[in-house]
């Protein structure tokens, strides 16, 4: 039977600790839940290291471990904590190879989640890392993608920011682009929005539109195939980038890039520009299928005028 993303991560981590003799660092790892079931039940003697709650220092300790060629995995339970965890990862680990020719590879597992969890911790904050040189950013949502990026991390000497999302942990399926034929419009989706983007595509197709979809795994460096770009440039009305972060970051930057490459208008959609509250009415969730399809319908109607 096919594996879920959760089982895939757990297996990779067990292998990382037991076979590769690497280390996993984080806060409250060996407790109830084992980070959404993504960690094997192992302890400090196996390389599963409990950091204290000193978040900023924790990122530094992991960086020092990486300097010793240990390829640490650093678990950040909610991506919003990165405001405290990221400083030494981006300013030291990510620069060490360039400045001192001393690689310092860290595999950062930033885990996204949202829904009634308040203003700061939830959602994906991968844009935080985006503007800094020396970091690679990926957002795997399938078992196959996760295996691929771990393998690539192990074969390189770079810092990886792996933008995960709890909403994908049960997923067993690979997600496939639809870039064949001439499309009216193309959705370029990142992180957890990829699942709702697929639903939005179905809704729009029921209304008679031809909608393409491009799944983004590699955010930095941005990887998009020539064929996918061609699908956008051949489309009638361009495309939209959808993300689980605020749009003033990765989405707007990538939209600009795709616009230059395809000469098509590229829109963006992500979190609203506001703080999330706890009540449903004031939460700030990633765009759902209805919101995505409505936004696209609006764009298409405008364009046809």
């Amino acid at each position: 039977m096919a594996e879920t993303v959760r089982e895939t991560i757990k297996k990779i981590i067990r292998n990382h600790l037991k076979k590769k003799k690497g280390k996993v660092f984080g806060q409250c790892l060996t407790a109830v839940g084992w980070v959404g079931g993504t960690l094997p039940e192992l302890y400090e003697k196996d390389g599963m290291i409990e950091l204290s709650m000193a978040d900023v220092a924790g990122g530094g300790i992991v960086t020092g471990s990486a300097l010793m060629k240990n390829r640490p995995i650093y678990v950040i339970r909610y991506q919003g904590f990165n405001w405290y965890n990221a400083p030494m990862i981006v300013n030291y680990a990510a620069k060490s190879k360039e400045i001192w020719n001393t690689p310092c590879p860290v595999f950062v597992r930033g885990i996204g989640m949202e829904g009634a969890i308040g203003p700061v911790a939830g959602s994906s904050h991968h844009s935080l890392y985006f503007r800094m040189p020396g970091v690679k950013i990926v957002s795997p949502m399938t078992p196959g993608e996760y295996k691929k990026i771990y393998k690539s991390f192990m074969s390189e000497e770079e810092v990886y920011y792996v933008s995960e999302h709890r909403g994908s942990f049960n997923n067993k399926k690979e997600l496939i682009d639809d870039i064949t034929g001439t499309k009216d419009f193309v959705i370029i989706a990142i992180s957890i929005t990829r699942f709702q983007a697929i639903e939005a595509k179905k809704k729009l197709e029921k209304k008679g539109y031809k909608i393409g979809i491009i799944h983004i795994l590699w955010i930095k460096p941005f990887k998009i195939s020539k064929k996918a770009l061609k699908c956008v440039s051949n489309s009638r009305f361009g495309g939209i980038i959808i993300d689980d972060d605020y749009v003033d970051g990765i989405s707007n930057s990538l939209a600009n890039k795709v616009n230059h490459l395809t000469n098509k208008k590229i829109f963006t959609m992500g979190l609203s520009d506001k703080s999330a509250g706890f009540h449903k009415k004031v939460d700030n969730l990633p765009p759902n299928a209805d919101q995505i399809s409505n936004k696209i319908l609006g764009i298409l109607n405008n364009a046809k005028k």
């Binding site: 300790i61 001192w100 001393t102």
Partner: protein, 279 residues
């Protein structure tokens, strides 16, 4: 501490002092164009520590911050390479011009570069020590010690009982702001409250010598009171009243001290001249 050992320490300190005097002069006449952080006045901390540690046949991992010329030289870093870094020469520099004065790196002596954010070397050094289990020495200033992430990291190092030595080079200054303006607590007491050995001492080699029995057996913090002779950055002097350990030790050693200083000065001046000719 016997006299032979004290002379050995003085020789290292003399190398550092004469290096820094050259750096001061070449910075003043703009041959050096980048900001430099001179360690003159503070040489006896790294000079003594490296002598004692090398005597134990230990080559520790070294993590320092911006004011680190004397650390690099005392622990055996090549003087020629440091000159090249300060002169910002792209062609000859080990770091292709990326290092400068504040980010000195040397694979040979296991000294890891600093990113310029004060205090980051503390958690990073702790992580390196935890993972490698190798004896590790981490230098910080009295101001860096105040960084929240330094304090949090010290606590963790204590819990993990690492073979690590924390050295606070306490020159009482954060740029020009004195310690008493910034805090009413002391780092050796902080260390003790974290349940590690913590001591407050001055940079007299005889004082530092007393604590060598604890080196790398368990985490320990030495707050070493010292004096910065020159400006925070660049070539300038705020006062002629500052106590100078180097002159003090030279006087103590008498004619031997004079001779060592003269010999090493000639050698160091010559290396600077030769390096400058190469560029």
């Amino acid at each position: 501490m016997d006299k032979k050992l004290r002379i050995k320490v003085f020789e290292k300190a003399s190398l550092c002092r004469n290096f820094e005097i050259n750096a001061f002069n070449y910075s003043k006449n703009r041959t050096i164009k980048i900001p430099i952080y001179l360690s003159a006045g503070q040489e006896f901390t790294p000079a003594t520590l490296s002598t004692l540690i090398f005597n134990k046949k230990i080559k520790p991992l070294i993590f320092a911050q911006h004011r680190c010329h004397s650390t690099y030289l005392s622990f055996g870093g090549k003087i020629e390479n440091l000159i090249v870094e300060l002169l910002g020469n792209y062609r000859l520099s080990n770091t292709r011009g990326m290092g400068g004065s504040a980010s000195i790196y040397s694979k040979e002596i296991k000294m890891y570069g600093h990113d310029g954010h004060m205090g980051t070397q503390v958690p990073i050094g702790i992580g390196a020590c935890f993972t490698s289990r190798k004896p590790t020495i981490v230098f910080m200033g009295d101001a860096s010690a105040e960084e929240d992430y330094v304090l949090g990291a010290l606590g963790w190092a204590s819990v993990k009982k690492l073979p690590i030595l924390f050295i606070v080079e306490d020159n009482n200054l954060s740029i020009l702001t004195e310690k008493k303006v910034r805090r009413n607590w002391h780092m050796h007491e902080v260390a003790r409250s974290f349940k590690m050995r913590g001591y407050d001492l001055n940079d007299n080699p005889k004082e530092i010598y007393k604590y060598q029995k604890y080196f790398f057996k368990e985490p320990m913090l030495l707050n070493i009171n010292t004096n910065r002779l020159f400006w925070h950055a660049g070539a300038g002097k705020d006062s002629d009243e500052i106590f100078d350990r180097y002159l003090n030790e030279k006087k103590y050693l008498g004619s031997i001290g004079e001779r060592i200083d003269k010999k090493i000065k000639q050698k160091v001046d010559e290396i600077w001249r030769k390096q400058l000719e190469k560029l």
